[in-house]
């Protein structure tokens, strides 16, 4: 039976919200070495994280389309090395700027969290 009803999507949306900033940053980061298609991006994230991070397609594609809508990435249909047609995404100028600020913000967060989590006793000097 054809049904126009939208099945529950809350599960994915929650995940996207949790990951949103991070996933966007990861995607932008992956694209800084050159244009890449969706499958390639997910594979690179997976490979570079040592198989730890697996991006679900239900999060990846909405993120790519969102980034494109925001103008941080642009897309183009091209042939892959294995001669397949695929949609390649590349960083735009605005995207590069965004990536820089994301990187800076990420470094800040990592430092801050590391500061909190580091085993050195706090205020030991005083």
């Amino acid at each position: 039976m054809s049904t126009p009803m939208k099945p529950r999507t809350e599960r994915y949306q929650n995940r996207i919200e949790l990951l949103q900033g991070t996933l966007d940053m990861l995607i932008l980061q992956m694209l800084q070495w050159g244009p890449q298609h969706g499958y390639g991006i997910s594979q690179s994230i997976r490979g570079r994280s040592g198989e730890v991070l697996q991006v679900e397609t239900g999060s990846l594609y909405p993120a790519l389309h969102r980034l494109e809508k925001q103008g941080w990435v642009a897309s183009q249909w091209k042939q892959t090395e294995s001669n397949q047609r695929a949609k390649f995404y590349r960083l735009t100028a605005a995207g590069k700027k965004q990536l820089l600020s994301e990187q800076a913000r990420w470094a800040q967060i990592v430092n801050a969290i590391a500061g909190i989590m580091s085993p050195a006793p706090e205020g030991g000097q005083s």
């Binding site: 054809s2 126009p4 009803m5 499958y39 239900g58 809508k69």
Partner: protein, 839 residues
């Protein structure tokens, strides 16, 4: 992305997304195959890893925006499919709604045309109508030419004052072809103050409205089309109005009909040209000259307030000017035959008033506002019935769809989303109903107009559905959705899942299932009964009015009117002519009696005046007004009004004999009580320079004068031939043995022979005239009967629908009973039982 981009690129993007996903899957599979998996394994693993393809696509599409539009389209598509799957249901629902919405819209378009629509002029809300009101509270719409000039010259708060006068029918000749046209005389300020721009040529200016200016005329767009085939060189064309030459100078825009809703002006001429077109009325060179006599009130006045002026300030400003005008009027009539201190005193006792004029003159509005509001309420009820009907159908339908709805709910569809889907279907129904309703209304409102104004009075109303009416239709349809769609949708979404699944498996309804359906059927039947009973009462009232004794016999009487004064007859000539005509008409075979009078029964106008009765001293504040009528010989015999005492008028009552009069019983009772009035005397002050006493020679039964509803007022009748008058038209009453319309041709021929210049008008039967006077009652009675029947029909359809679904529920049980039960009657019984419970 803009909405347009979305609309145009949606399909392409849809495809691209699909390709993107497919590419992803291919690449994933290929990589797996390179690692040694078989093509099939690789493909399956790639899909597994990817997840739910359509879900991924959907959440990605969400990012594009316009999700609501997407769902809306989806809902619409689905709704259309649902409706086309049940053509019977859809047809009945749409038809029902079309009837309800159409009737409401038709009545509304009339209400709009008669009561709401503003004049098609510039900034109509700045316009005010000038009226005056006497100290006794008697309102008056007419002003004299000199008053108009004074107000125009001496006010500080008005940006323009306009004067105009409808001229009724004029004889319009172009290229040798004569026709009657509706004309009006207007002041030079008329078109500029109203801001009505010509579509061709120019409009009448102040220069055209000066004494001695050459006579010019503007024609309406309709007349330009009908008589000149929209000839662009019409400006400068020569036409003849009532025998006088005029030059056409321009064409008014199509939407402009004049300032009186219901009337449509074909030709406008300047006030100053009135003496050329209607010399008798204008009375140039006499003390009654319309353009000079300050006491002749014949003009409608309207004014436009200056920017920033208030009504109060304008009124304060106009008051003194008007007082001055009234003093002039009182002085102006000094020495004239009907001058008397009493009449003169009346002038300064009137005050000027401003009334909102954005909707023009009010005659039509006053006549029809109540009946139209009543009908509006009736169609409102009808619409409500239609809506409950559709709600019922939807509920029955929802029952059939329980399974589908249960399935969707169990698949995780949200209730809000489900309600939205069901409401979308309702909106589709309402939209179709509204569209057909607009058609019904278009046809219906024209039929209504011809029904309301079927007679010679030929009221012209523009009821073409315009933007306002269509917006109204839209709103009504929307309201209908809320009324009929919300409850079923809400109900459907609150389905008890396990119950529903069980039920649809068993095909039986849980007890109490149809409570909502029943609760809708009951008000529906009640409402339609209320409408039917109301309609019955109205029809009864109409019948009673028609069957009541009006004080004359309306059967077999032909009426026609002449106005020889219009073509220059003097009073003695008029008397001679009427005498001769009466003689000749009586000789026509089939005519049993003939007479004439200045006012025919129920002609919707009459003359009221003060009476001074010898031996009756009015108490302070008492104002014994009587209606007067001037009648020819054998008037009462012709109309079959019973002469209770004394005698009818005869040929012997002429200018040479002592003045006599007849009075009706109401007047006799008022002034003389139970004593015999024959031989007593009274006078009518201010009538014809002659307030010598009239001797009462007859008392007649009370006959209706203005309306069948009102009791007969005190009335006095005077022999026309004793004081002939060349100013007013008279109406001949011809009584025949059989169908009086057959006489019309011979009468026309007689008039033609008597004087071929003599205009003959108002040819109709007395019964037709009575029907016209009952137009409101007939309209309301007829329409409420019609709407009552429609309501009853709808209620029956609704009842049928409910019974049908009820019987369908019992079919399984019945089938069993028919087969195995002791008798089939049981099934009838149980169905009847259920139906009976709604009583």
């Amino acid at each position: 992305m803009s909405l347009w981009g979305w609309l145009f690129r949606r399909h392409q993007r849809e495809q691209e997304l699909d390709e993107e996903v497919q590419a992803h899957l291919r690449m994933a599979a290929q990589e797996r195959m390179e690692q040694g998996e078989t093509a099939e394994q690789a493909r399956a693993a790639a899909v597994r890893e990817f997840g739910n393809v359509s879900l991924v696509k959907e959440v990605t599409r969400d990012v594009w925006g316009f999700r609501w539009l997407e769902t809306l389209l989806q809902d619409l598509r689905y709704g259309l499919r649902q409706l086309s799957r049940n053509p019977g249901f859809t047809a009945v629902a749409v038809l029902t709604l079309a009837l309800g919405i159409g009737a409401t819209t038709a009545i509304f378009s009339l209400v709009d045309a008669v009561l709401l629509k503003m004049l098609p002029v510039q900034e109509p809300e700045e316009l005010y109508r000038l009226t005056s009101v006497s100290i006794k509270g008697r309102a008056n719409d007419y002003f004299s030419y000199s008053t108009f000039k004074l107000l125009e010259a001496n006010n500080q708060s008005l940006s323009g004052v306009i004067a105009f006068r409808p001229m009724e029918n004029v004889d319009f000749v172009v290229n040798g072809n004569a026709e009657l046209a509706r004309a009006q005389a207007v002041s030079g300020s008329y078109f500029t103050t109203l801001g009505v721009k010509p579509v061709l040529g120019r409009t009448i200016t102040a220069e055209d409205d000066a004494r001695g200016a050459s006579p010019v005329a503007t024609i309406s767009y309709g007349y330009w089309t009908a008589r000149f085939s929209r000839n662009p060189s019409v400006a400068g064309a020569r036409i003849t109005l009532n025998g006088a030459a005029f030059t056409v100078i321009g064409v008014t825009p199509p939407e402009f009909f004049g300032l009186e809703p219901g009337e449509s002006v074909d030709v406008s001429i300047p006030l100053a040209s009135l003496p050329v077109a209607q010399p008798q009325f204008a009375a140039t060179g006499t003390p009654y000259d319309v353009l000079a006599a300050p006491f002749r009130n014949w003009l409608h006045l309207m004014a436009r307030l200056k920017d920033g002026e208030t009504e109060t300030r304008a009124l304060a400003n106009l008051g003194p000017v008007y007082e001055q005008a009234m003093r002039q009027s009182a002085e102006g009539m000094r020495g004239l035959p009907f001058d008397s201190p009493g009449t003169r005193k009346g002038f300064p006792e009137t005050r000027i008033q401003l009334e909102p004029g954005s909707r023009g003159l009010t005659a039509l509005r006053e006549q029809f506002s109540k009946p139209l509001m009543f009908l509006m309420a009736v169609v409102g009820v009808l619409l409500l019935i239609a809506c409950t009907n559709v709600a019922n159908l939807l509920l029955a339908c929802a029952k059939r769809r329980q399974r589908e709805i249960a399935l969707r709910l169990s698949l995780g569809a949200g209730r809000v989303r489900l309600i939205r889907q069901l409401l979308t279907e309702s909106v589709l129904l309402a939209a179709a109903g509204g569209a057909f309703g607009a058609l019904v209304a278009f046809w219906g409102s024209n039929a209504l107009v011809s029904l309301m104004f079927h007679s010679a009075s030929a009221i012209q109303l523009n009821v073409r559905p315009d933007a306002r009416v269509l917006v109204f239709t839209g709103l009504v349809s929307l309201a209908a959705v809320v009324v009929f769609g919300l409850a079923p949708a809400w109900r459907a979404s609150r389905l008890d899942l396990s119950q529903a699944v069980k039920e649809s498996a068993q095909g039986a309804a849980a007890p109490g299932r149809s409570r909502m359906v029943e609760s809708l059927v009951i008000p529906q039947i009640t409402l339609s009964l209320v409408l039917m009973v109301g309609a019955g009462l109205l029809v009864r009232t109409l019948q009673k009015l028609k069957n009541s004794n009006p004080g004359f016999d309306e059967q077999n009487v032909l009426l026609f009117s002449v106005n020889p004064g219009m073509i220059g007859y003097k009073e003695t000539q008029v008397a001679e002519l009427y005498d001769r005509l009466t003689e000749q008409i009586r000789a026509i075979p089939g005519v049993s009696a003939v007479s004439f009078s200045t006012f025919s029964p129920l002609a919707r106008w009459s003359s009221f005046t003060d009476a001074r009765v010898e031996g009756h001293t009015p108490k302070p504040g008492e104002n014994p007004a009587v209606t007067v009528n001037f009648a020819g010989p054998n008037y009462f015999k012709t109309l079959r009004t019973a002469v209770v005492l004394g005698r009818d008028f005869t040929e012997a009552d002429t200018a040479g004999t002592p003045k006599v009069a007849a009075i009706n019983q109401a007047m006799a009772q008022y002034f003389f009580g139970d004593s015999n009035p024959i031989g007593r005397r009274f006078s009518i002050p201010g009538w014809k320079a002659d307030d010598s006493a009239l001797e009462i020679v007859g008392v007649v039964e009370n006959a209706k004068v203005n309306s069948l509803r009102e009791p007969s007022p005190p009335a006095a009748y005077m022999p026309f031939l004793q004081s002939p008058d060349s100013f007013l038209a008279v109406t001949f009453e011809v009584r025949s043995a059989a169908n009086p319309t057959a006489l019309a041709a011979s009468v026309r021929q007689l008039i033609q022979q008597a004087d071929n210049r003599l205009p003959l008008f108002g040819v109709k039967t007395l019964s037709e005239q009575i029907d016209e006077s009952l137009v409101q009652e007939r309209l309301v009675a007829l329409l409420s009967s019609l709407f009552g029947l429609v309501a009853l029909f709808l209620a029956c359809v609704g009842l049928y629908g409910v019974m049908a679904s009820l019987v369908a529920r019992r079919t399984r049980k019945s089938a069993f009973a028919w087969r195995w039960g002791p008798s089939g009657c049981r099934c009838w019984e149980s169905c009847w039982d259920e139906a009976w419970r709604w009583r």
